[in-house]
């Protein structure tokens, strides 16, 4: 598991470790290597936990499946659905949130990008982000919003990064927008576009 470098930015999301909570129901959304966080959560939980729980599992794209899906299926969740990617899991997550009661604990785990997508779906449904349990597993690749054209580029791993929409070279900041669910990217060479700093892989 990679560790997150906590920056001075207050807005930079902080992730914890999933812990079984006292609640009438449980909604768990996991992506990729988050499968292992779910297995650890279930191992810590009292018997009968999974019979009150729904699991939405997005398999990739960064982690080859490695049998995770089958291992999760065997845990006996009351409802278990898979999807190819975090983005593909969102419609089902939105549906689950529409029916969700406040007596449901929500657990989210996966890559930094997946967590951005899941947390935003939950806050859009009216849940306060402080009430969501999150655990980071897998890639640190970021969703980045270009502050100039507002386009969002997925799976950004380099510093600087090229905006997939307007092509500007962006400095990826730790400044995070919960409303948009993305880190902010600001043009790094506005004064002299011919000055092109080398890209380094920063968010593996």
């Amino acid at each position: 598991m990679s560790s997150i470098r906590y920056a001075e930015f207050k807005s930079r999301p902080y992730y914890g470790v999933l812990e079984p909570a006292s609640a009438l129901e449980h909604l768990i959304v996991a992506e990729g290597e988050g499968a292992h966080a779910v297995m650890e959560l279930v191992a810590k939980a009292p018997a009968g936990f999974t019979s009150q729980a729904t699991l939405l599992y997005a398999e990739g794209p960064y982690s080859p499946d490695n049998g995770n899906t089958e291992a999760l299926r065997e845990l006996g969740f009351a409802r278990f659905h898979t999807s190819a990617t975090a983005a593909a899991a969102v419609p089902r997550l939105e549906g689950a949130l529409e029916r969700l009661k406040m007596s449901t604990e929500v657990y989210l785990t996966g890559s930094e990008s997946a967590l951005s997508i899941f947390v935003k779906a939950c806050t859009d449904a009216g849940l306060d982000y402080q009430g969501l349990q999150t655990e980071h597993r897998g890639s640190l690749a970021r969703r980045v919003q270009c502050v100039h054209c507002k386009g969002i580029t997925e799976n950004v791993t380099t510093q600087p990064a090229t905006c997939a929409h307007c092509g500007l070279l962006l400095l990826v900041r730790d400044h995070y927008s919960r409303r948009i669910g993305a880190f902010q990217g600001v043009n790094i060479n506005a004064e002299d576009p011919s000055d092109i700093p080398a890209k380094e892989e920063m968010f593996r």
């Binding site: 006292s22 009438l24 969700l100 009661k101 406040m102 449901t104 604990e105 009216g126 849940l127 969501l132």
Partner: protein, 320 residues
């Protein structure tokens, strides 16, 4: 100045709501509008009771859309320190008084998809203001209101007219109790819960919500602890270099103010945290009455909230 600037007002009306509750209306002497406030806000009423100055928080119950006056409903508490008794016995229309500007420690979270309000007895007052606010701004809400009896329940008719199907009444005299388990397990995502009323009711709602898995950030409560009377005690103020005597029906904060110490405060009900003070020395027991300190802070004996908490023992020195 560490305390909020005061507003001079005139008592424009006093209405007997029922045998226990009176409603007080305050206006500016020149009739100009009072400061804007939001539903759930309170003011602090200053009372000159003989040689004692009392400052007591009360919720604003009037509509936030109308600042031509402020209205507070006050239940007479015969066991309290005397603030409500003073209001009931001494305050008459035409009297000049001083109040604080409004402050809100019980505001609606406007990100909510739905507001679920639970009131017990006189705890209805902030919800009167909040429901008026939501009528104008829109927003889904429902109010569950428990009272001892039809006779002692305040504003039931007005609420029925305004809220209609959004109001759910529960009468003790008919053995009707709120079913918190069902209520709190059936609320849709994005609901925010608000509770105001007697301490045991608040505790029960908070416990039920916690056990059912409600996130803390969706649960709001207001219980101005009614700084209870207690035995007299003395306290040394290390920064001011003086000692104060706290009488039976006085609070430590009031005793400091009477001695000319400008101590910070906002709610005077143990809720806001403004008056938190370090304890330098404590040979005895601090009786914590606030809702602010964490359990470990209370146990440490290093903090006190002088607006509500008291002391029993040999020596108390606080950093003020």
């Amino acid at each position: 100045m560490s305390t909020p600037a005061a507003i001079d007002v005139v008592v424009s009306e006093v209405v007997e709501v029922n045998s226990l509750i009176k409603r007080f209306h305050f206006k500016r002497p020149d009739g100009a509008p009072l400061p804007a406030f939001s539903g759930g806000a309170h003011i602090i009423i200053e009372m000159q009771d003989g040689d004692q100055t009392r400052r007591v928080p009360y919720s604003l119950m009037s509509s936030p859309l109308d600042t031509s006056d402020y209205q507070c409903s006050i239940r007479r508490d015969d066991e309290g320190r005397g603030g409500s008794l003073y209001m009931h016995r001494e305050v008459v229309p035409g009297m000049q008084m001083t109040i604080s500007p409004p402050a809100n420690l019980f505001a609606l979270d406007l990100r909510a998809n739905k507001h679920l309000m639970i009131a017990g007895g006189i705890g209805i007052t902030p919800f009167l203001a909040q429901s008026s606010q939501l009528e104008r701004t829109g927003g889904q809400y429902e109010l569950h209101y428990g009272v001892r009896s039809r006779e002692l329940g305040a504003y039931i008719d007005e609420l029925q007219d305004r809220l209609q199907h959004r109001l759910h009444m529960y009468y003790d005299e008919h053995n009707e109790a709120m079913d918190f388990d069902t209520l709190l397990s059936t609320q849709p995502a994005g609901t925010h819960l608000y509770v105001c009323g007697p301490a045991p009711m608040i505790e029960k709602v908070l416990d039920t919500a916690r056990a059912a898995g409600w996130p803390e950030s969706h649960v709001h409560f207001e219980h101005f602890s009614k700084a209870p009377p207690g035995e007299a005690f003395s306290a040394e103020l290390s920064e001011s270099g003086i000692s104060v005597e706290v009488a039976r029906e006085q609070t430590l904060l009031e005793a400091m103010e009477a001695a000319g110490v400008d101590a910070p405060y906002l709610c005077r009900g143990g809720a806001c945290g403004q008056c938190e003070t370090d304890v330098v020395e404590c040979d005895g027991e601090i009786m914590h009455e606030d809702f602010w300190l964490e359990d470990d802070e209370r146990a440490s004996g290093k903090k006190i909230m002088p607006c509500v908490s008291r002391f029993r023992g040999k020596r108390l020195v606080i950093a003020r």
